[in-house]
C-alpha cells in the first residue's frame, strides 16, 4: 500500500478530509531535500484550552486533525507522499489550562497519524509547549514539521 493510499484510508477512518488546492498559501518551502511546513491549527474544529474548555480527547482529536492538514500540504507540494523519506522534527503549541500537564500524550494525536502513514519513518523528535491565544479564536493546537524527501 502506498503512503497516499494510507492517507486516504486514514481520512476515511477519521472522517477528516485533508485540504486540497492550497496553492494560495505558501505552506511548504524546500531546501535541498529538506521541507519546512507552515504551522497549522485545526481552525474551528476545536477551540479553547485543553483541560478546561476542552477534554484530553478533544486535544488528541485536534492534533489528529492537524496531522491531516499537514499531510494535505505535503501531498499538494510533492504530488506523492511516497517521496517523503522521514519526519525529522515536530514543533508545536498546545493551548492548555494551567493545571493540564499531559502535553506529550495530546501531541501523540499527530505522531500516531504520521506513524500510521509512514511507519517508523513517521516517528520524530518532538518539541511541544503549552501556550495561550493561538490563532483562529484560540484553536486548540498549532503544529509544524521539518521532513526529508527522497532524491
Amino acid at each position: 500500500m502506498t503512503a497516499d493510499e494510507r492517507l486516504a484510508r486514514k481520512a476515511y477512518e477519521l472522517n477528516i478530509d485533508y485540504p486540497k488546492n492550497l496553492r494560495a498559501l505558501v505552506s511548504v518551502r524546500r531546501v535541498d531535500n529538506i521541507l519546512f511546513t507552515s504551522g497549522s491549527g485545526c481552525g474551528t474544529f476545536r477551540q479553547g484550552l485543553i483541560g478546561s474548555d476542552l477534554t484530553f480527547e478533544d486535544g488528541y482529536l485536534a492534533c489528529q486533525h492537524i496531522a491531516m492538514i499537514q499531510l494535505g500540504m505535503i501531498k499538494e507540494y510533492l504530488g506523492d507522499l511516497d517521496k517523503v523519506d522521514q519526519i525529522l522534527r515536530v514543533y508545536g503549541h498546545l493551548a492548555v489550562a494551567d493545571d493540564f500537564h499531559d502535553l506529550d500524550k495530546v501531541a501523540d494525536g499527530l505522531t500516531d497519524v504520521m506513524g500510521a502513514v509512514f511507519g517508523d519513518r513517521g516517528r520524530a523528535p518532538r518539541t511541544i509547549l503549552g501556550s495561550r491565544n493561538l490563532p483562529v479564536g484560540n484553536t486548540a493546537a498549532e503544529l509544524e514539521l521539518i521532513l526529508s524527501v527522497k532524491d
Binding site: R89, V96, D98, F100, H101, D108, A124, P125, T127, I128
Partner: protein, 158 residues
C-alpha cells in the same frame, strides 16, 4: 577517550552512555539523522531514576538558580542522547540551533539566564563548537510540568 569526554571528566560530569532512562513520548523518538544533521527531541530534566527531577514553574516553585540547574541537567541528558546517536561525542561538528522552553508563572521573564544552564554545559564540553543560535520561549505549561525543555539541531562531522 574522546576529547569531549576528557573535558566532561575534568568538569566532573558523567554520562551513562545508555539513554534507556530518558523516556520519549509514545509516537516520537529521541533523535533523527538526515545527512550531516542531527535533530534531537525536546528533553526534560530527567534524573537517574528516569523520573523528572524538577517539577514546577519558574517564578512559583523554582528560583532562577534552581531553573539554571534544571537546564544543566537537560544538557547532561542531551549528551547521553548525542553519544547514543553518534557513538562518540567527538563526532559533533558544531551546534546549530537550540530552542529552550521555560515553564513560567507570575510574570517571570529571566528566560535567558535559566537557559544559559544548558548552553554552559555545551560550551564546557564542546568549547566554541558547543555555541548555538538559541530561542528562549516562556510557556504557560510543559509536559509533566517540568521547568524547562530544550531541543537541538546539531551538525555532524562527515
Amino acid at each position: 577517550m574522546s576529547v569531549a569526554e576528557r573535558r566532561l571528566e575534568r568538569i566532573g560530569l558523567t554520562i551513562v552512555g545508555d539513554d534507556n532512562k530518558i523516556p520519549s513520548g509514545g509516537g516520537n523518538c529521541k533523535y533523527k539523522i538526515h545527512d550531516d544533521l542531527l535533530f534531537i527531541t525536546g528533553l526534560e530534566p530527567y534524573g537517574e531514576d528516569g523520573k523528572p527531577a524538577f517539577v514546577g514553574r519558574l517564578g512559583r516553585e523554582y528560583t532562577l538558580e534552581e531553573g539554571y540547574q534544571a537546564a544543566r541537567l537537560v544538557g547532561i541528558n542531551m549528551l547521553t542522547i548525542i553519544k547514543d546517536a553518534l557513538g562518540d561525542l567527538d563526532r559533533v561538528d558544531y551546534f546549530i540551533k537550540v530552542m529552550a522552553l521555560v515553564n513560567t508563572a507570575n510574570g517571570f521573564s529571566d528566560l535567558p539566564e535559566v537557559a544559559n544552564g544548558f548552553t554552559d554545559v555545551m560550551t564546557e564540553v564542546f568549547g566554541e563548537r558547543g555555541m548555538h543560535a538559541r530561542t528562549d520561549l516562556g510557556a504557560t505549561n510543559l509536559n509533566n510540568n517540568v521547568p524547562i525543555i530544550c531541543d537541538a539541531i546539531i551538525k555532524i562531522k562527515q
